[in-house]
């Protein structure tokens, strides 16, 4: 069986959930081969094996010193050497860029924000804010596919995870944009927005930069916190938490919208959520139409009551 390369996402050496989803998908297509960049592969190997990685290619940490291009050079090289059937990456902003450059190098095609892939490499997309489903495929070369986190459930299946050190002689062009500093801001204990199984978002109805009503509910559920554009534009919550057309696209099991009207631009970022719950005092707000359960009421009354109730039932 041909190998399917899976670029591993990790945070401080911990394999992210989306990688286990990609390995699960890769097993439909061929033999999963995880691509790990940097230190810590020994510790992460067990997790990669648990979801079916037969191989683990370990590349030097130097690749992370420059923006995107070195990863593309590595993946293109491995795809050639290993005659890979496909390359799967997570559909994060950075990895979509990696996918694009890799496909240019391979003379193949790239499919981004994919929500499902069949064994014969037909990819499903949800476009125009979740109103249209398309199926697409790459016509030439090794398909490079960026899959949205939370699209399919990860299922364990033991793999051998045989480690192999790999290297790539980086071109000068790949070293042209150098990362000189990494700045981490307020991470906290909450899950990452696009990965989270549950997202609680606040909008205009929150009314101020005191987002504690949203954060407390999120924390009771172990959820990530999101914000609508109105809340971000008002300066109530940082930009990187914006959900919607010009922000992040999320697809959690449960999305709770607090004080968000549900304009098309917001729906574009959350409409593929499995279950949607909303609280909005405006009975005409479009968010009620796409919710599985919604309450017409003041979020400052409803959300604290919900938080208390959840904590009580734990």
């Amino acid at each position: 069986m041909a190998e399917v390369l899976v670029l591993v996402d990790q945070v401080d050496g911990e394999v992210k959930k989306v990688t286990t989803e990609l390995l699960t998908l890769a097993r439909r297509i061929g033999e999963p081969a995880a691509v790990w960049i940097g230190e810590g592969a020994d510790d992460a190997k067990a997790k990669l094996a648990e979801f079916g990685a037969e191989k683990v290619y370990v590349a030097p940490a130097e690749l992370n010193d420059y923006v995107v291009a070195p990863k593309a050079e590595l993946l293109a090289k491995l795809a050639g050497e290993k005659s890979a059937a496909a390359i799967l990456v997570s559909a994060t902003a950075e990895n979509k860029e990696v996918a694009g450059r890799t496909a240019v190098k391979l003379g193949s095609g790239v499919l981004t924000d994919v929500v499902d892939v069949t064994a014969d490499l037909v990819a499903e997309h949800s476009i125009f804010g979740g109103t249209t489903i398309t199926h697409a495929k790459v016509r030439a070369g090794v398909p490079v596919i960026a899959v949205r986190p939370n699209s399919i459930p990860a299922e364990p299946a033991q793999g051998a995870a045989v480690e192999e050190q790999v290297s790539v002689e980086l071109s000068d062009a790949a070293k042209a944009a150098k990362v000189v500093e990494r700045v981490k801001q307020e991470k906290g204990a909450r899950p990452e927005l696009t990965e989270a199984a549950i997202v609680v978002s606040g909008g205009r109805g929150v009314g101020s930069d005191d987002f504690s009503v949203v954060e407390n509910l999120a924390d009771s559920l172990g959820a990530a916190v999101g914000a609508s554009r109105a809340a971000v534009d008002s300066g109530w919550y940082p930009n990187q938490f914006q959900v919607g057309q010009t922000g992040k696209t999320v697809s959690p099991q449960l999305y709770i919208a607090l004080g968000i009207s549900g304009a098309i631009q917001h729906r574009a970022g959350m409409q593929t959520s499995k279950t949607i719950v909303a609280v909005n005092k405006d009975p005409e707000a479009p968010i009620h139409e796409i919710s599985d359960f919604s309450v017409i009421g003041d979020l400052h009354q409803v959300a604290p009551q919900l938080t208390e109730e959840i904590n009580k039932r734990k």
Binding site: G100, V110, T131, T132, A136, Q185, Q240, Q253, S294, R313
Partner: protein, 269 residues
Amino acid sequence: MGVQGGRPPAMNIVVLVKQVPDTATERKLNPADNTLDRASSDGVINELDEYAIEEALLLKEKHGGEVTILSAGPDQATDSIRKALSMGADKAIHLNDEALHGSDSLQTAYALAQALRTTEFDVVVLGSESTDARTGVVGAALAEYLGLPQLTLANKVDIDGGTIRIQRQTDDGYDVVEAQLPAVVSVVEKINEPRYPSFKLIMAAKKKPVTKLDAAGAEIDPAKVGLANATTETVDFAAAPPRAAGTVVKDEGTGGVQIADFLASKKFV
């Protein structure tokens, strides 16, 4: 660029602009060839491109130079080009050729790279993604085709002599990235606040030069663009199944408890 000391020479900045269907209108695909049905909805300038134009104008105000708009698209794209010029850009290049119809994101990046070779530039600025296709790959692919530094997802840009430094937005903060000009820069939404065109600028924009460029003029290989040569193919499409109507209740003092009951029924709590 790259001159040591003194005021750096004026910069040539090119901004990439894409006309997209208005998100507020109904967007459709054309069943004949599964490409975007541009007739079905109003065309507007891609929202993030306005931030790219603003950043280019800010760079020009600081360093001097000229801002050129480059747009690939059919005749209707003229609307977005005029909008860009009315924000204050100096001139435009309109890459317009039937051969480009149906090009995918990588082919578009290739065509734009070829068009960029017809002009001199120090910086190319673009929005980090378009609101229609949302692939987010064009900036990276453009850097790959041109062999230039990729300074994408910028929420801050500084240029000092021949050195450019950006803050690249990440999930948990930002990376500071440095390169030598020329470079490809893509911007995210919160980098600035795009200006509104003044009446004076709108009138002036009508007189600004727009150079027409076709595929041959940009030395674009016809075998590398267009629907027939696309690297990807949309096999089929259909309307997403509508979400089943949910329960809507009015809060009578127990709204929170009712949601908790619903979440419990779905095993979330």
